[in-house]
Every structure is written in C-alpha cells, then in structure tokens.
C-alpha cells in the first residue's frame, strides 16, 4: 500500500494518510480482507506519530472502508469494491470534462450541485 504525506501541505497529516488508503482502494490494489500495515510500522516508516496513523484508520473505519479489530488490526471491508468503481468513474468524468473544455472548478461545482440535490 502506497502512503504519501506532504508535511508542507495545509491538509492535516491524518487526512492525507486516509486519502492515500482511499486512493489505493480506488486503484484496485486493496482487496476485501487485506490488512492495512500496522500503525506502528507506518508511523516509523513515515516518521510521524502513531496516533496520527491511528486517527487516519479511525476515520476510515467511520467511513466503513476498514474494520478495526483488537489483535487483527485494520481489515479492509467489502465496501472496497465500490471504491474501485468510483476510482474507475473519476478518470472518465475528468476525461469528459476535458473534452468539453471544463476546468476543475466547474467540474467540482457540478459534483457539489449533484451532492446537494
């Protein structure tokens, strides 16, 4: 699982970590039943606090992408299939927007409108 964080970014580190996991889920490299790496390993590898990693995992649990079980760690749930569907839909969406000459702000505005309706 590829995790990337940029300490210079204004986005909180735990949000960046959760986004990395989501991106792996949408790329299809994570399968239901896969275990996320141990929080301690991630913290050591990225030189961040372990609580930051745990907070990211809790965020993903609240989303339903992982189950947190004592002794088993963070296990990817069946919902990962829908994430990869989303991962396939987004490039298509962007490609269509490019064809129409629409910028990212227009596209996000359209998405927001769809969300709010």
């Amino acid at each position: 699982m590829l995790l990337r964080i940029d300490p210079a970014s204004t986005v909180p580190l735990f949000e960046q970590l959760a986004a990395s996991v989501r991106s792996d889920a949408s790329r299809g490299t994570l399968r239901a039943g896969d275990r996320l790496p141990a929080a301690r390993d991630v913290a050591d590898s990225l030189d961040v606090n372990m609580h930051t990693v745990l907070r990211a995992y809790q965020l993903l649990r609240d989303e339903g992408l992982v189950d947190l079980r004592r002794g088993r760690g963070a296990v990817v749930t069946d919902r990962v299939g829908s994430y990869s569907e989303l991962g396939e839909a987004i490039p298509r969406l962007v490609a269509t927007a490019r064809e129409l000459g629409l910028g990212v702000s227009t596209l996000t505005a359209m998405i927001r409108q769809e969300f709010d309706s």
């Binding site: 995790l3 940029d6 210079a8 490299t29 390993d41 590898s45």
Partner: protein, 332 residues
C-alpha cells in the same frame, strides 16, 4: 532438438535412471546380504577403520531410506521446473542430485558389502569404496550434465519492466508497505513434514528408553525457523527497502544509496531458485521466494540484486525509482 526431447531427457536423468540405479543397488545388496553372517562392519571412522557392526541388511535399508525419497523429491522438482519454465543451471543441478547420491551410495555401500563377501577369511574389511563411489558418481553426473539440454541464461534484470518513478516533492514522505506470505498449501505442507519428522525422532528416542525425548523439539525449532521465512513484511521508504520476516530475524535491508533501480519481474520459483524461502538464485540474485509469478527486483549498484515475490510490485518499484531519482538529484 525440440522441447519434447528436453522433457524426456530431464525425466530420464532426474527420475528414471536414479530410481533404476537405486533399485539395482537394492537388489544386489539384498542378495549379497542374505549370504553374509548376521554381523558385519556397518560404520567406519574417518581413517576407514570399521568402528560399528550390525546386520548386513542395514545396507539395503540405508540405500532405500536415503535414495528413494531423495530421487523422488529432487527428480519431481526438476521435472516440474522444466515443465513450467526454461531449463536453467538450477534445474540441471536439481536433476542431478538423485543420480549423484544414488550412484554414490550404490557403489560405496554395494562395493563395501561385496568386498565383505569376498573377504570372508577376514572378519571385517575397511571402507575403501568411498573414493571410488565419489569418482564414479562425479563422472556419471558430468556425463548426464552434457546429456541434459543446454541451460538458458537468465541475466540480472532480464525481462523486467521498470515502472516510471513516482514524482516526489522535496519535502514529501512516502512509504509502501505490504505483507508477502507463502501460499497456505506450502505452509501446511511444511507443518505436516515437521510433525512427521518430529514424530519419527520421538518414536526412535522412546524406543531407546526415552531419556532424551526433548531432542524431538530440535526438528520443531528448525522448521519453525523455516516457517518464519514464509511470512514477510516488505517496506519501502526514504531509508530504502526493508524485508522483515515473521520473527523479525532475519531482516534484510537495502539502503536507498546502494540501489540503482527497481523493476517488476516474473519469477519461476523452482527453475530459478530451486524452491521456496530465502534463496540464492542465478547470476547474483538473492531472493525471498514465496511463490512463482510477479516479483519486485531491486537492482543494486554492486551488480547484485534482491528479489521478493510480492503483489503490487509495480507500486513498490515506482516508489523506489522515485526515491532513487530524488536522492541522486539532491547530490552535488
């Protein structure tokens, strides 16, 4: 020479001939043993002087116990490997194990037993057939090597696809972590083998009074160490590549500064590494080989490479290449 005759030659050299040699040796030693007194020299010290005596039937039993499983196991691995991939030096070595050992034991033990029969005026004779056995086995193995198909060379980095490096910002931190475990069937096979061996040791110890029953734990410990090399956590970050086994020992680290590049390769576990676990492959490769198929190959600056069979190896290789690129760009 087409591929079909390759298969037949490997089958003959790896499996058929060693088994025939073993069966012939069994027939000869068994018939000789039936003509001998009930006690003959069965063990010789380093100077070749007999220091152990026993039944002449221990000769055919020893040949059967060592050669039959060895011929069957190494022969099948070589035949399987040649079916699944190119014939490599590793396949050829595997194919010759059974032949070498069978001929060595047939000549050495058979020779010792026949001399025993010829020298009935003396009580026991020394083991002079060992050097002859080694010589005959070596000559036949060299002949068989030439009979086997020419080995295909698989040079380092061959057939790999190096993925484009991940573009990393100067401050960005990135880590790729994934576990790599052997298929359950392989693991349970080893566990089963461990139980059988420990059972045999325990049984034979109990037969002799059972005072040293604890030595049956020795195979258990050895197999547990082997099993710990069947589950690994692979980690790629700014420090390099770290491969940590289930017990934490062994852990293999490859610092980023020693890495030239990384790529994805297809591994044939048997043909290229002769089996599973921590393996030395051909042409300067060292590998953690848990299955055949997709693997990460880390090419080091010293001309060697480290291979690990892990899923999503492309992401790992892309990150390594990104880290190496950033590292070298930062150098003056």
């Amino acid at each position: 020479m087409n591929h079909a005759t390759h298969g037949i030659r490997i089958l003959l050299v790896a499996l058929v001939v060693p088994l025939l040699v073993t069966l012939a040796a069994l027939a000869v030693t068994f018939s000789v043993a039936s003509t001998l007194p009930s006690s003959v020299a069965v063990h010789w010290n380093a100077a070749g002087v007999p220091d152990g005596f026993g039944s002449p039937y221990s000769f055919p039993i020893l040949i059967a116990v060592i050669c039959l499983p060895l011929d069957a196991i190494f022969g099948s691995i070589a035949v399987l490997a040649s079916h699944r991939g190119p014939v490599t030096v590793m396949t050829k070595i595997l194919a010759l194990v059974g032949l070498f050992v069978s001929v060595l034991l047939a000549v050495t033990l058979g020779g010792a037993l026949i001399r025993e029969q010829a020298a009935t005026s003396q009580v026991h004779v020394s083991l002079v057939s060992l050097p002859i056995g080694i010589g005959v086995a070596a000559v036949l193995s060299v002949g068989a090597w030439l009979l086997l198909p020419k080995a295909v060379k698989v040079p380092r980095g061959d057939g790999g696809t190096p993925p484009a490096p991940v573009a990393l910002g100067a401050q960005e931190r990135a880590s790729w972590i994934r576990s790599a475990t052997a298929p359950a069937g392989l693991t349970w096979g080893v566990v089963g083998f461990m139980i059988v061996i420990a059972g045999i040791v325990l049984f034979s110890v109990l037969q002799r009074g059972g005072g040293t029953w604890w030595i049956s734990f020795i195979p258990v410990v050895i197999f547990l160490l082997v099993l710990s090399t069947f589950a690994w956590t692979i980690r790629v970050d700014v420090r390099g590549v770290r491969m940590r086994s289930a017990l934490g020992v062994p852990t293999i680290t490859v610092p980023i500064a020693t890495i030239e590049s990384a790529q994805v390769i297809e591994v044939q576990a048997l043909a290229q590494y002769g089996g599973f676990g921590m393996r030395w492959g051909l042409n300067g490769r060292f590998g953690v080989i848990l299955r055949s198929g997709e693997a990460l190959e880390v090419l080091r600056r010293n001309g060697r490479s480290v291979v690990v069979t892990v899923d999503d190896a492309a992401s790992a290789a892309a990150l390594i290449n990104g880290l190496v690129k950033r590292e070298t760009a930062a150098l003056p």
